[in-house]
């Protein structure tokens, strides 16, 4: 906008010498009339070129010249870079984030207007479903999997337990249209949003015009969910030298690094790969996980390695929520691993020797992964 100021300066008859102003090309000489005209011309051409350029490649067109407040997605110090930049074609902005948040908490996304994303993804439970193995959806029907906690989604390239979702932006299509979740059609959701008084303005603030379409809605939701980053637990503070582990936590951490970190890799506490950790197949659900998507028998019974951040809050555990406590989940690794499954992960081929003391130390350590900076953060709250 400094350039505009300079144009004004050049145009105004009794203009002050340019030298006192910061100029966009760094020229700091008092200028004659002729060169002023030339500069003016070149500025005009630049502006036109910029405008043409903007309309070609920029994802957002703001007719009224207002731009949203773009925000930078911050990668916590020492963390790996996300494998893909989920915001590359969905520039993160405050307005986009706020719109996404409103959509996330809006039950009108469901058929009967009673279920929002937040019904199954509760903030105080790190956006998992608190205390339920299967989340309740439309008409009180149950989902066939346990709702995962939502954070650090920007580091994933595949979503859902079986990785069936290949981009964060298209993920919401699944719960919105699933008969056991929100049971709504995309058409109807858009109709409801369009007839609302607040949404058109919010879409305009985020995307430049009042147009409401599926792409914008999905991108806004991705701005909200993709922004939830958990990197501020006691564990993180210990690593940053801001806190220290108790004796038991320290022992638990050592045990964890020796036995669990092959899959639940720090600092994300997952490598986001698909593996079989030896759970006995649920004979009622007959869920073969990753194989349902790839059709490859080698993927049978493989599920996405869940992050263990906030794990104290996201019970019950595993893809079908079969374990109600961390103790029970650890018992699985102690004596529950089904070693006869051909796709069992080699890292788990030998059962662990876990003493009772180690089990409790492990639980103490896992409790240090709880991050109240997301569960109590008003920024992510309704």
């Amino acid at each position: 906008m400094k350039c505009l100021q300079i144009i004004k300066d050049i145009l105004s008859k009794g203009s002050k010498p340019l030298s006192k102003r910061s100029s966009c090309k760094g020229t700091s000489v008092a200028l004659g009339v002729r060169s002023r005209i030339i500069i003016l011309l070149s500025l005009c051409i630049t502006l036109c070129a910029l405008l043409i350029g903007a309309s070609n490649n920029s994802p957002v067109k703001f007719a009224d010249g207002n731009l949203p407040d773009y925000i930078e997605f911050k990668i916590p110090a020492g963390w790996p870079k996300p494998p893909t930049n989920i915001f590359a074609k969905n520039k993160l902005s405050e307005q986009g984030f706020q719109l996404g948040k409103k959509l996330f908490y809006d039950p009108r996304l469901s058929k009967d207007g009673s279920i929002s994303c937040a019904n199954c993804h509760q903030q105080f439970a790190a956006f998992a479903t608190y205390e339920h193995d299967f989340s309740h959806g439309h008409n009180d029907q149950h989902t066939s999997r346990n709702a995962p906690a939502l954070f650090n989604l920007a580091w994933m390239t595949k979503y859902h337990w079986d990785g069936g979702i290949n981009h964060i932006e298209v993920q919401p299509l699944s719960p919105i249209t699933s008969p056991t979740e929100m049971a709504e059609t995309l058409e109807n959701v858009l109709i409801k949003l369009k007839s609302d008084t607040a949404y058109p303005k919010l879409f305009k603030a985020a995307f430049g015009t009042e147009e409401i379409n599926s792409q914008r809605m999905l991108k806004a939701l991705a701005q909200f969910t993709g922004s939830i980053v958990s990197s501020n637990s006691k564990y993180d503070k210990v690593l940053r030298g801001e806190a220290s582990f108790t004796y038991a936590e320290e022992n638990g951490y050592k045990f964890f690094k020796a036995n669990c970190a092959g899959c639940h890799i720090e600092p994300l506490f997952t490598d986001n790969s698909f593996r079989n950790n030896g759970l006995e197949i649920n004979t009622f659900l007959k869920d073969y996980g990753r194989m349902n998507i790839t059709g490859n028998p080698k993927d049978s019974l493989k599920f996405k390695v869940p992050s263990l951040r906030n794990v104290a809050l996201s019970f019950p555990y595993m893809h079908d929520g079969r374990y109600y406590s961390l103790g029970a989940a650890i018992e699985h690794y102690r004596k529950g691993i089904v070693t006869t499954q051909s796709t069992l992960d080699p890292l788990l081929a030998n059962t662990f020797n876990i003493t009772n003391a180690q089990k409790y130390e492990l639980i103490y350590f896992l409790n240090t992964l709880t991050d109240t900076s997301i569960t109590r953060n008003p920024r992510f709250a309704k």
């Binding site: 060169s35 051409i45 981009h167 298209v170 299509l173 995309l186 599926s214």
Partner: protein, 252 residues
């Protein structure tokens, strides 16, 4: 002063340079080609819901939905000059306005047309799309992401599904399950697409549903009334339907 002029000159040159990169095809040497799809069964125009058809195995069926994606359309001539347009089109029998589209291409003589039947793999993993690729078009799998490249729905007394449904949703873009088909259609001998500046030529393409059942793979409704995910069956059906197109006419 000199410095300023030097700067400005460089500046203009830089601008000119960026402009020429984004230059569009100028109108003076381009014409239009209108491509029309005529969906048929054994050469007879498809009648949704009302038409009653029989496949090569004597199985009767009706068609309620017939849609497919066309993308990366290009024309090629004897000299090998290719004009590619990346656009995506969803041909949907129930929406007459989708049965034709027009492209601007360089003037010249062309003897064949190429396109991709389906949506390229990149656009299957690129997040929320718009236009023909909008998930609103009901051609996107929400639980196992990816586009349905072609869809045929209807009914058949031979179907063992509820309400005798017939439901072929053909998709898959990864590795072994890839059903994407590069189609090349040569114009009939002696016929050329002759694009002249400022003028419109037309290509009429027939898509015959009768090809879905046979050659190289026998698809009997009694055995397969539904296909709803990528895999072997989808690949077999796609191998069959990759031969559904033929050039009906070229009009200059």
């Amino acid at each position: 002063m000199n410095k300023i002029f030097l700067l400005l000159t460089l500046y203009f040159l830089a601008l000119l340079n960026t402009q020429s990169h984004s230059q569009k095809i100028t109108t003076s040497n381009t014409g239009t080609v209108k491509i029309t799809f005529i969906n048929t069964v054994k050469g007879q125009p498809l009648a949704l819901n009302t038409g009653s058809y029989t496949n090569p195995f004597g199985e009767a069926y009706t068609v309620s939905k017939f849609k497919y994606y066309i993308s990366h359309v290009s024309m090629a001539g004897a000299k090998g000059d290719v004009n590619e347009v990346e656009n995506y089109y969803l041909v949907d029998e129930s929406k007459p306005e989708t049965l034709h589209f027009s492209l601007t291409i360089n003037a010249g003589n062309y003897n064949r047309l190429n396109f991709l039947l389906g949506v390229d793999s990149l656009h299957n993993v690129s997040g929320a799309q718009s236009g023909a690729l909008d998930p609103l078009n009901d051609m996107f799998w929400t639980w196992n992401n990816g586009y349905i490249m072609a869809k045929l729905e209807g009914r058949s007394p031979q179907s063992k599904l509820v309400n005798n449904k017939l439901e072929f949703h053909i998709g898959g873009f990864m590795g072994e399950n890839n059903v994407l088909k590069n189609i090349t259609l040569h114009f009939p001998p002696g016929k050329f697409l002759n694009i002249q500046p400022g003028k419109t030529s037309e290509i009429m393409i027939e898509a015959d549903i009768d090809t879905w059942w046979q050659q190289p793979n026998d698809i009997k409704i009694a055995e397969h009334a539904v296909c709803s995910s990528p895999g072997q069956l989808a690949k077999k059906i796609a191998d069959n339907y990759s031969k559904m197109f033929s050039i009906k006419d070229v009009v200059n």
